[in-house]
Symmetry: C2
Subunit: 321 residues, 2 copies
Amino acid sequence: MVSIKQIAADIGVSAATVSNALTGKGRVSEEMARRIRLRAEELGYRPNVTARALKRGQTGILGLVMPDLTNPLFPRIAQSLSEAADARHLGILIADSRGSAGEQRNAMRRLIDRGVDGLLVVPQKGSAPEAQAVPMVVINTASDPQNTVSSDHVGGGHLIGTHIAELGHRSVVLLGGDAVSEVQQDRIAGMRAALSGRAESAVRWGAAGIEDLPALIRDGATAVLTTSDHLALQVQSALAQAGFSVPRDVSLTGFDDLPLATAMHPALTTVAQNVPEIAMRAIDAICARIAGAPASADSQTVPTRLVQRASTRSLHPTDPT
Amino acid sequence: MVSIKQIAADIGVSAATVSNALTGKGRVSEEMARRIRLRAEELGYRPNVTARALKRGQTGILGLVMPDLTNPLFPRIAQSLSEAADARHLGILIADSRGSAGEQRNAMRRLIDRGVDGLLVVPQKGSAPEAQAVPMVVINTASDPQNTVSSDHVGGGHLIGTHIAELGHRSVVLLGGDAVSEVQQDRIAGMRAALSGRAESAVRWGAAGIEDLPALIRDGATAVLTTSDHLALQVQSALAQAGFSVPRDVSLTGFDDLPLATAMHPALTTVAQNVPEIAMRAIDAICARIAGAPASADSQTVPTRLVQRASTRSLHPTDPT
DNA sequence: ACTGAAAGATTAATCGTTAAATCAAGCAAG
DNA sequence: CTTGCTTGATTTAACGATTAATCTTTCAGT
């Protein structure tokens, strides 16, 4: 590897001058700077980030802690984050807090030991990551008000609930995957709020909830609102087996707008999170904190968007289909 | 941050001694070592990996380059890799080569500039990443014979093909997503080989291929074998619209065993890649290379596994269902 | 011609850790 | 009593880049 010294020796100048020329910081004659840049180019010089990091006290690396790397949302978050980080010349080191809040702490610790400048944490369901030696930004859980960037899950639920109410549904089942998840609680809460006064709603959770569906539909429910697309696909399968067709017999909605939402038939009405926006804000926030901004008490909420497709049907006699 | 020097000053000993005591390398009396470890513990000392990396010339970080971070397989690869790397106290820095082979080169370059000790590359469809200044291991494309760890895609296709032939299907459609992908070509090739002499097979690609299916089925095709689960879900949707039911009218298979394979109905017969094994071997290989082993010319192939579910049906009159 | 400032470059120290070389005792053997 | 070995610890230098402080020239102004 070619170092600054070799360029210096090559040209017959001191290492400091080379550094100055290349970073444009000190005082170097334009003529000399030109020669140095030329030689650096010729030798294919690349600054040693490790040395620079040691001197500066910053590594230019961000740690990303996910509750479960196999989370279907992870790819999109990782990509958007990676893109936003890239634009700031930051790297992203990943870590998985599989399962427990304890593992989450370990993961954070490992990243900090590696010298990351900041931590982006998508918290384990039902856990609030504690403050650390480095700036931290929490993604996607509004429950912790400190330094959080989150989708407006309540608002998203509200969007779906309103949509369903306007279609004329009067008896609705709200189905969540795991009651421990605050995100899913928020989504359900939004749905309930929107439906309140306009329709009856029953809340169910998990696999047991799916089993209850046929009976609930026979009792008059005309729509099933789930907290994730994956869950919606499972519901569709279960309903098909029980002889119910979507959207003819029952309307169905998901959450997240995963790729499978358009692959399944009927295409799923769902709520899309603005992942790139969340990523951008998260990176903005962590960079601000790294640059010295104080921990802000207020959390940022990013609006969600209703994606209307073919899995929901109007019950108004005047409407088509 | 507490450094080795502070511990040294605290105890009244030289920095080198502290380093020796903590790493167990030089000669230190057991008594002194005990005191040093104790004090380090008290102060919550954590070695500065940046300084260590500078001295050692190794960062302990691996770069992972993916063709597209939103690839549905990415989560599992990332998790398995992360786990295997963790066990060796290595970190994983991610990079996305979105779209082009050119971006792939940039991504590799950025990671190398960051001082990664090695590169794990899942190549862009149809591109062979060129050798770099650091050890590299290519994942999942056997086409490049150098330092490659790959699933046995041909074997996987063979597994599916054999399964379908044994069920008594005599006219089969093979459907790929993108003909540029060598992985998908391999899968199709394996299917053809297994079916050869036992059944007629027609190959189709992409969206246009999906549109052809109803006609092909009316012409007598009884099974559709796809190169990915996601594609299979799309096919199922399209067939349902055209009035065909899986597996009653036509058998359907996927590839990769994504979560959606069990969520859809009927549950999808597919081929599972042994992702943890691939990850382990990839990490093993890259570590060996980093430790100085020469680039091995032979590629490692990891067997795949047939996952038989409900989307394929036997045509033998004697069999049930 | 002398002073002072400005430009252009060099020195030396530093970031935290480590490896090699060196040094000082203690002790056994000749 | 000296030589030589072992043990325990210290000094020194280095990894590569950066930066404050310092040194030389050059040149404008009086």
